[in-house]
């Protein structure tokens, strides 16, 4: 397992930079440098220049990556917890309960997701919390299906029957036999959920439905860059390239994990 794992290294490097950069740069993400509005790259202290109101691009990039990853990881964790709880319950009980629970999942799948998010935004106003709720609503569904399938397969395995014959209570069987055995698969899908959430969050932000200014995310940065791309293409290329790199690397790692466990 010591062979070079390029995608993982890239992801870790991006995360590290996003965390450390704010302490190294003399600028914060919302600080305006009146002397250097629309500064080109490598001019003075601004490595990647500044945007149209004079905020340092690199600082904003780091802040955006941080927000995007934070939303992604939090939403993925929420989907993990809800998905495992729902899927494991359905799979373990089985029968009619399972049918009913999985029909609910199917129903939620069928809802037009964007429509709901826009409704939520209109009713409650824009906030990071709502982005979580909106994304979490969708992402746990796949996890629940995956976990349910795994639990149903495990339930038939002789070692579960042996545990039952040994008098082990259902609760303990669930906690100590079933959960450890689905952990690998769940982890792999968690890794695959993160890039999906990054994607959804960026998409929402690009439409102006994500986090609010002056907070920023990769999606907002791409949008701002796109508005201004004939003047300063760097503003689009930087966040766009970073987003693509992050998505590709996370997906490759996630699929590698999934292949290993299934």
């Amino acid at each position: 397992m010591l062979k070079p794992r390029f995608p993982l290294v890239v992801v870790l490097a991006i995360i590290l930079l996003a965390l450390v950069l704010p302490f190294l740069l003399p600028w914060t993400y919302d600080q305006i440098d009146w002397d250097a509005v629309r500064a080109p790259a490598f001019s003075g202290a601004h490595i990647f220049g500044t945007d149209e109101i004079g905020r340092d691009r690199l600082a904003r990039l780091a802040a955006g990556t941080r927000i995007t990853l934070m939303v992604a990881i939090a939403a993925a964790l929420v989907s993990l917890v809800v998905g495992i709880a729902w899927g494991a319950t359905a799979g373990w009980i089985g029968g009619r309960v399972d049918e009913a629970m999985m029909r609910i999942v199917d129903g939620l799948y069928a809802l037009p997701f964007m429509f709901i998010v826009i409704l939520l935004m209109v009713v409650f106003g824009r906030s990071i919390l709502l982005v979580f709720v909106g994304i979490g609503l969708v992402e746990w569904l796949t996890m629940a299906r995956v976990v349910r399938g795994q639990v149903m397969a495990l339930k038939q395995r002789p070692f579960i029957l042996a545990a039952e014959a040994a008098g082990t209570p259902s609760r303990i069987i669930m906690l100590r036999h079933i959960l450890p055995n689905i952990a690998g698969v769940a982890l792999a899908y968690l890794m695959l959920t993160v890039p999906q959430v990054v994607m959804v969050e960026s998409f929402l932000s690009f439409l102006g439905l994500g986090v609010q200014e002056p907070l920023t995310s990769l999606g907002i940065l791409v949008k701002e860059g796109a508005d201004d791309m004939d003047m300063t293409p760097l503003g689009l290329v930087l966040p766009g390239g970073l987003l693509v790199m992050l998505l590709v690397c996370l997906t490759i790692e996630g699929e590698r994990l999934r292949d290993r466990f299934s």
Binding site: E99, R157, F159, A162, A165, A166, G167, N181
Partner: protein
């Protein structure tokens, strides 16, 4: 000249020698059987010369005048298509699920460059392998066929292009005893009629006896012994072969020495199990009906039957890990409640052991925790040191060293894993073990070891055994009495000697003649 001759062949995968110095011959119209435990390299030996494994074969392998050892990939492929047919163990996975039987046969016929066969020709091919209603079968998909029918289709596809050599890798291991006899009979007939040479690979000596002309015994990548089958069987030179022959259960070997049964321990009266059909569909499936049997103390009862005969269902019902919908189970004369209502002490008395030893151990647990699991529930409150000591004793009982306590299940062989499973079953001193095909998935030598272990446990600890199996000869080594099942019903019960000597029911006769 022989049809197929291998001389001093070695097979290596990724630089590692796995098979060495193998020589064998297959004559036209005759059968050469390759026998060995799992991992002995027998599949590598027969598949690698045709480029069907990742391995590289070195040495001389001559098929009908073509040296496969020096031929290039295209020539090997041509020889494979034109001259050889292959049959594999799993008939369902070896047939393509989305193609009809007819389409697969057509493809198989045309692979050697023959013209597109007519429907009549395809029907004739199916009739050749003894499949009834052949014209209907052509339009069916593999999942519609039973295991035996699928294997017949496999054989039909393997011989569709009139090959000279048929390579059969465990062709009957996944089948019932009676189906096995039918398939072997079919292969025999094809050999005689068409002069096919047959290279038969099996881990089970019993399944090739009476069919093989030549016998090649392999162990750990080497040929241990080879020669005419009758000579090897009656007068084996090598110790390994002798042990293998002794380990293979036979119906007419001398009766084993068994313990003397005592009082009635468990009795079932009119036991029945009906399932609702899965999903929202209506209807019921009767898996078991009106099953009544008795097990005494220190007694072994064999439940024998084909697949789907309900023998596992009754075992699970008794062990409390499967449903029981009708009838009652009496334990020492008093009612045994339904499975979830059994007290912890009741559960302790009956413990199951399963067919697939590796799957019956949680891969995330150490052997020590696995063995101790029943104790933690049934006798809570002991200290860790006490648990550990009891686990050590239980492992000693099943002839495993103490160092196994710290191992993970994935690092165990099949036989070791089954011993761990038995240790887990006996640690809480049960009085009845329900063994569901406990030796069927194991190699003959390992399986014989488990049978001996069970006999010893019975004589030392006075445990009763419910031995569920499809192999009547293996049951005879262990059991006092036998119950034969068919279609969810017990059709015949009696002592081992009575039933084997004078089988009354057709199902019993079929099982006995097949083994």
């Amino acid at each position: 000249m022989s049809l197929y001759e291998i001389r001093n062949m070695a097979v290596s995968i990724a630089g590692q020698r796995l098979v060495e110095d193998v020589s064998l011959t297959v004559e036209a119209g005759q059968c050469t059987a390759l026998i060995g435990a799992s991992g002995s390299g027998k599949s590598l030996t027969c598949l690698t010369p045709f480029g069907l494994t990742r391995g590289v074969a070195m040495g001389s392998m001559v098929l009908d005048g073509i040296d496969l050892g020096s031929a290039d990939a295209a020539r090997i492929r041509e020889a494979r298509c034109r001259l050889t047919g292959f049959i594999f163990q799993q008939p369902l996975t070896a047939l393509t699920p989305h193609l009809t039987v007819g389409a697969q046969l057509q493809e198989a016929t045309m692979q050697a460059g023959a013209a597109r066969p007519s429907v009549r020709e395809l029907v004739r091919q199916l009739e050749r392998v003894g499949l009834s209603r052949a014209d209907e079968r052509l339009d069916q998909f593999p999942h519609r066929l039973s295991g035996g029918e699928r294997q017949r289709v496999m054989i039909a596809a393997a011989i569709a292009h009139n090959p000279k050599l048929l390579v059969a890798d465990e062709p009957t291991s996944a089948l019932d005893a009676s189906l096995r006899a039918e398939i072997m009979g079919l292969l025999y007939q094809l050999r005689i009629e068409q002069g096919l040479g047959l290279l038969l690979v099996s881990h089970d000596l019993a399944s090739v006896e009476g069919h093989a002309d030549q016998l090649v015994v392999m162990d750990r990548g080497r040929v241990v012994e080879r020669g005419p089958a009758s000579k090897v069987l009656s007068d084996a030179r090598e110790d390994y072969t002798r042990r293998l022959i002794a380990a293979t259960p036979r119906l007419h070997e001398p009766a084993p020495k068994l313990s003397r049964p005592g009082e009635i321990l468990l009795e079932t009266r009119g036991l029945g199990v009906t399932f609702d059909r899965p999903g929202w569909r209506r209807g019921k499936i009767q898996a078991l009906a009106d099953a009544s049997l008795i097990i005494r103390q220190r007694e072994s009862l064999a439940i024998v039957g084909g697949s789907g005969s309900g023998k596992s269902t009754i075992g699970r019902g008794i062990a409390g890990i499967g449903p029981v919908t009708e009838g009652e189970i009496l334990w020492r004369g008093s009612m045994l409640p339904e499975r979830r209502k059994r007290s912890l002490d009741m559960r302790r008395l009956i413990q199951p052991v399963f067919q697939d030893p590796v799957a019956s151990l949680d891969p995330q647990w150490r052997v020590q925790d696995i063995v101790v699991e029943p104790l933690r529930n049934l006798r809570p409150g002991l200290t860790t040191a006490e648990y550990q000591e009891m686990a050590r004793v239980a492992l000693t009982d099943v002839d495993l060293a103490e160092e196994f306590l710290a191992r993970w299940p994935t690092s165990l062989s099949g036989g070791q894993a089954q011993r761990v499973a038995i240790a887990r079953a006996i640690i809480a001193s049960p009085q009845l073990l329900v063994l569901d095909e406990a030796t069927s998935a194991l190699d003959p030598l390992v399986g014989a070891g488990i049978l001996e272990l069970l006999l010893r446990l019975q004589s030392e600890n006075g445990i009763s055994l419910l031995f569920i199996t499809h192999n009547i000869a293996a049951a005879r080594r262990l059991c006092h009495r036998i119950a034969v099942m068919e279609d969810g019903r017990i059709v015949e019960t009696g002592t081992m000697r009575e039933v084997i000597g004078h089988p009354a029911h057709p199902a019993t006769q079929k099982l006995i003649s097949a083994s």
